[in-house]
Structure formats: structure tokens, C-alpha cells
């Protein structure tokens, strides 16, 4: 049986792979040059091209016996991953260039991880999902520890790695059970099994254990312990990448596997997601309240945001339309933008003050109003304040909860509403430092201008956040498209 290969469908992955290879080679030849990041960004942009042509084409392309599918759903996420990758490169450009880092390898690993993500978007069987997940994760283990002389960075890498492999092991164990009980590797096969058979309780345990792996990836409570420590210790661009792209990768896997495979077995996954959602929102927010380091605060915030994103998933089984799934996707897309922006701003501020303490943000509104305005926009967007894109993310989340209308969903919606209020407190805390306080004379400031790439990244996100806030139809339509068969 010769697999027919649709090169157009695989073009994004192929472009990325080629770019990775070229980068490696170039890095060998010309060390310490800016060539690699430039090539990497070109490669990413190049990979976006086929994504666009494929979307215009619009047809579903299935390959490898149904284990790999390029449909609207996959394309939406591929686009997201590539854009995030591009922004991450922009954000890292000076950070990695100026620090004590291996430069070439950084981008190689980054792109490898992105490659894993693009694969993940199309993966439709357990093996591919597993491979994609590991392709996403393993390079980031290394990236987290990239600041090799910094013990904190080392620690970040180690914790991430250990919890990561343990989760993987648990997930694999779960997958093996799922595979064993259903006898299918392809997601569609698992679903068929579930539709036909009354599954045993063991299968539910398998499903749960499988979800643990993804829960780790999206840093849902109680599988989030690595996140704050890793985020804090890792180089900030890596943190941004982890909190956005890597998390999105986990969500994609989660959506795919739940939507396609486990959906009929509501009892096995719905309560789990429900608990994860509630716990993530609440504990993430509470822990974030008391943070003094902004990266750590954003880490907990992203835990909480993950909880919000899980809300539509938790109620998806009770919603007749696709609106819940769309809700997760829309939330994810918007979250990616604003969170990335926030980390970019953190990097920009750290360049001046050399500190990530929230108190070092005091008086930023006076010393650098433009930066402070952008940071404010990102943070308040994360808080879900209207006409900044975040409000729409929150809205679709609430909408899904109330669309289902079950008592549990309504309770979850109210919990989310209360959490949205708590969350505002710590986001506003940073705003308060920036705007309400005088600059702290004790903090030394260097008058380095923010590099162009960083500014560009922030500006792109700012415009996006504002535009989508006023006209969210654009992104909502994207979410809708993802679940419309081509």
C-alpha cells in the first residue's frame, strides 16, 4: 500500500522542516550571526503561504489512511501557530542575541516545536498525537533551560522536564488502555467503538489518564505545578512561547481528541474537564493575587485563563450546536494574542529596569507612556474589559455555559464570572503600579530604546486586540469556520 502524498497539504510542514535544516546548516557555517533568526522568520512566513492557499482552496485533504487531515480546523490552528511563532521570533530577536545564549540552536528548537504544533493540528490518531505532542514538548525542555549558567533557568528546565515526562508516561498509560479497550488507534475508530458499545469503567480511567497529558500541557490545576516555576526561570521569550503556543498545542490536542474520539463517552471526560476548569480558574486566580514577580503572576494568570478556556469544553456535550467548540477556539486565538503581547511588554520593561518585580513597574506611565499604554491594553484585555478583544473571549465562554443551560454549566458560568472579577484585581495591580505610582528612584533605569522587532510585535498585537475588540465578528467567523466541514 503506497501512501499517496498530497504535497500541497503538507507544504507548511515541509517548509518548516526545510527551514529547520537550513538553519542548522547556516548556524554551523556562520556562528553568531543574525542570519538564523532572519531565516527562521522567513521560513515561518513562508509556511503561512500554503496555509493561506489551502484555506482558499477549502477542500478537506485526508492522508495516511485518515490519520492526518488538513481541514479548516487544522488550518485555523496552523495559522495561529505560525503567527505566534513569527511574533515569538520577533520578541526573541534581541533577547537571545544580546544574552549569553546559543543563538542558532534556539531558533532550530523553536521551529521544531512549531513543526510539532502544525502536525498536531492535523493529527487524527493516537500515535500521531503522541508524536506531535512530544515534538512540541521536547525542544521546549531544552529551551526552558537555555540560560545555561543561570541555576534558575536550569531549575525551570528540570521541573518542566520531570513533570512533563511523568505526565507523558501517565498519558501513554492512558492511551494504551484506550487503545486496548477500543481496539482502535484512529480517533474515528475510537468514536465508532463508543457509539456501538457500552464502554467499561476501565475505559473511562484510560480516557482520564490520557487527558492528564494534555492537562499538563495546558497547565490545568492540579497539573500546573511546573508552570509558575518554569515560567519564572525560563528566558522570557520562551515563557511567552510556552504560555501561548505550547498551551495552544495542548488545547488543540484536547479539542481534537475529545471532539472526535471521546465525545460519546460523556461521563468519562466531562466531569474531569469540569473539575479542571473550576479548579484552574479559582486556584490560578487566587495564587496570582499574591505574586510580586510579574512573570510568575502571568504564569498563574495563564493557569486561570486555561481554566476559562476549559469552561466551554466542559459543557460542550450539552450544547447542540458547535458554539462551545467555537468558544474554545475563539478564546484560544484571542488569548494567544494578548498574552504574547503582555510577555513582549515584560521583556521590553526588563530591558530597562533589569527586573521582573511588579514594583519595578512603578511610574512606567511617566517614564515610557507608550509602552505603559500597550501593557495596559494587554493586561486589561486579559481581564476581559470591553472593547479590548478579551471581552469577546470571555463572552463566548459564558455564552457556551449558558447555551447548555444545565445546572452544572450555570454554576460553572457563575464561578467563571466571579473569577473574572478576582482576576481583574491582579491585572489592575500592575496598571496601578504603572499609572498611579511615582517612579521608584531606587530602580536603576537604562535608557536603552526598545528594539524595533519588539515594538513591532507589540504594535501588531495592540492593533489586533483593539480591532478584534471592536469588531469581533472577524475572529468569531474564524472560530465558526474551524468547525464547518470544507
Amino acid at each position: 500500500m503506497n501512501p499517496t502524498i498530497d504535497y500541497h497539504a503538507l507544504a507548511p510542514e515541509i517548509v518548516l522542516t526545510v527551514t529547520v535544516a537550513v538553519c542548522l546548516l547556516v548556524d554551523l557555517v556562520a556562528r553568531r550571526s543574525e542570519l538564523v533568526p532572519r531565516l527562521a522568520s522567513l521560513g515561518v512566513l513562508g509556511a503561512i503561504v500554503p496555509v493561506i492557499t489551502l484555506s482558499v482552496d477549502g477542500a478537506n485533504r485526508t492522508m495516511f489512511g485518515g490519520t492526518y487531515e488538513v481541514d479548516n480546523y487544522a488550518l485555523v490552528f496552523k495559522g495561529l501557530f505560525l503567527i505566534v511563532a513569527y511574533l515569538t521570533i520577533l520578541v526573541s530577536f534581541h533577547y537571545i542575541g544580546e544574552g549569553d545564549y546559543y543563538r542558532g540552536e534556539f531558533y532550530v528548537l523553536l521551529l521544531t516545536s512549531v513543526l510539532g504544533m502544525t502536525v498536531m493540528a492535523s493529527a487524527r490518531d493516537l500515535v500521531t498525537i503522541f508524536v506531535a505532542l512530544e515534538t512540541i514538548t521536547i525542544p521546549t525542555f531544552a529551551l526552558a533551560a537555555w540560560r545555561k549558567h543561570d541555576t534558575k533557568s536550569n531549575e525551570a528546565g528540570l521541573k518542566y522536564f520531570l513533570i512533563g515526562v511523568i505526565s507523558t508516561a501517565v498519558m501513554l498509560y492512558g492511551m494504551s488502555v484506550v487503545y486496548g479497550v477500543s481496539g482502535a488507534n484512529k480517533l474515528v475508530g475510537i468514536r465508532e467503538y463508543l457509539v456501538d458499545t457500552n464502554e467499561p469503567a476501565l475505559f473511562a480511567v484510560g480516557v482520564f489518564l490520557t487527558l492528564v497529558g494534555f492537562a499538563f500541557k495546558v497547565s490545568a490545576v492540579p497539573f500546573h505545578f511546573w508552570a509558575p516555576d518554569t515560567y519564572e526561570g525560563a528566558p522570557t521569550p520562551v515563557t511567552a512561547f510556552l504560555s501561548v503556543a505550547s498551551k495552544a498545542g495542548g488545547f488543540v490536542a484536547l479539542i481534537t481528541i475529545v471532539n472526535i474520539a471521546f465525545f460519546p463517552s460523556k461521563g468519562s471526560w466531562q466531569p474531569v474537564i469540569f473539575v479542571l476548569a473550576a479548579a484552574s480558574m479559582t486556584l490560578g486566580n487566587l495564587a496570582a493575587l499574591r505574586q510580586t514577580n510579574i512573570v510568575r503572576m502571568l504564569a498563574y494568570s495563564s493557569v486561570a485563563q486555561g481554566g476559562f478556556m476549559l469552561v466551554p469544553l466542559a459543557v460542550a456535550a450539552d450544547v447542540s450546536s458547535n458554539s462551545a467548540w467555537e468558544g474554545v477556539v475563539v478564546y484560544l486565538l484571542i488569548y494567544a494574542g494578548m498574552n504574547l503581547g503582555a510577555f513582549a511588554a515584560v521583556i521590553a520593561v526588563a530591558r530597562r529596569t533589569g527586573s521582573a518585580e511588579i514594583s519595578s513597574y512603578a511610574g512606567l506611565g511617566r517614564t515610557d507612556p507608550a509602552l505603559a499604554v500597550m501593557m495596559t491594553i494587554f493586561l486589561f484585555s486579559l481581564a476581559g474589559i470591553p472593547f479590548l478583544a478579551g471581552w469577546f473571549a470571555k463572552l463566548v465562554m459564558f455564552r457556551a455555559a449558558f447555551d447548555s443551560g444545565t445546572t452544572g454549566a450555570v454554576i460553572l458560568g457563575v464561578v467563571a464570572a466571579i473569577n473574572a472579577v478576582i482576576a481583574f484585581f491582579y491585572y489592575a495591580g500592575v496598571g496601578r503600579q504603572m499609572w498611579f505610582r511615582e517612579p521608584d528612584p531606587a530602580v536603576e533605569r537604562t535608557a536603552v530604546p526598545t528594539p524595533l522587532t519588539l515594538n513591532a510585535a507589540m504594535l501588531i498585537v495592540t492593533v489586533g486586540v483593539l480591532a478584534l475588540g471592536v469588531y469581533p465578528q472577524a475572529i468569531a467567523r474564524l472560530g465558526e469556520l474551524a468547525f464547518t466541514p470544507g
Binding site: 490518531d125 493516537l126 500515535v127 503522541f130 508524536v131 512530544e134 521536547i138 525542555f141 531544552a142 533551560a145 545555561k148 549558567h149 541555576t151 534558575k152 536550569n154 531549575e155 525551570a156 528546565g157 528540570l158 521541573k159 522536564f161 520531570l162 515526562v165 511523568i166 507523558t168 508516561a169 501513554l172 498509560y173 492511551m175 494504551s176 488502555v177 487503545y179 486496548g180 481496539g183 482502535a184 488507534n185 509558575p228 516555576d229 518554569t230 519564572e232 526561570g233 499574591r290 505574586q291 510568575r296
Partner: protein, 99 residues
């Protein structure tokens, strides 16, 4: 062929792995315990594969072996890095980041 025997073996191995991960203080030994867990999974996969007469389980196991190797590679590198900076592989000493 009794499937349950394999499953129990895998479960026991998995639990031993868990114990190792939790109890060992040396980073390298923890890594090895993780390997144990992954191998437990492999046993599971192959046993199931045979049981359901489907080859994909064995393919899965091969992928797991490969990726486990890569994982351990990265893991060892990180442990080495820590050892270089802290002069100790003791995981208990690594708690700068918390709260």
C-alpha cells in the same frame, strides 16, 4: 494467553516507576524510573496489540521507545547542566523557584 498477566505486570512496573520518581533524590535515578514507567506502557501496548489483533499498538510502542530515548537525552543534558552549576544531582536542593 492471559492478557491480565501482562496488564498486571505493566501496572506493577508503572507503580515501581512512580515510586522511584518520588523517592529517589538523585536526578539520574529519577530519569531511570521514568524509563521504567514508559516501558510499562510499552508492555501494555504490545499486549493489547496482540489481544486485539491490531498492529498499530506495536507501532505505537516503537514510537514510544524512540521518543523516550530523545526525552532521556534531553533530560540527562539538563541534569548535567544542574550538576555542573550546583555540583550535586540532589533534587531536594533545587527549590529556588517557589510560591
Amino acid at each position: 494467553m492471559d492478557l491480565n498477566a501482562f496488564l498486571i505486570l505493566a501496572a506493577v512496573l508503572f507503580c515501581i516507576g512512580i515510586y522511584g520518581v518520588l523517592a529517589r533524590r538523585n536526578g539520574v535515578l529519577v530519569l531511570m524510573s521514568v524509563e521504567l514507567m514508559l516501558n510499562a506502557v510499552n508492555i501494555n501496548l504490545i499486549a493489547f496489540s496482540a489481544y486485539v489483533q491490531d498492529v498499530s499498538g506495536q507501532v505505537f510502542a516503537l514510537f514510544v521507545i524512540t521518543i523516550a530515548a530523545a526525552e532521556v537525552g534531553v533530560g540527562l543534558a539538563i541534569v548535567m547542566l544542574i550538576y555542573r552549576n550546583l555540583r550535586s544531582p540532589d533534587l531536594d536542593k533545587i527549590d529556588q523557584l517557589k510560591g
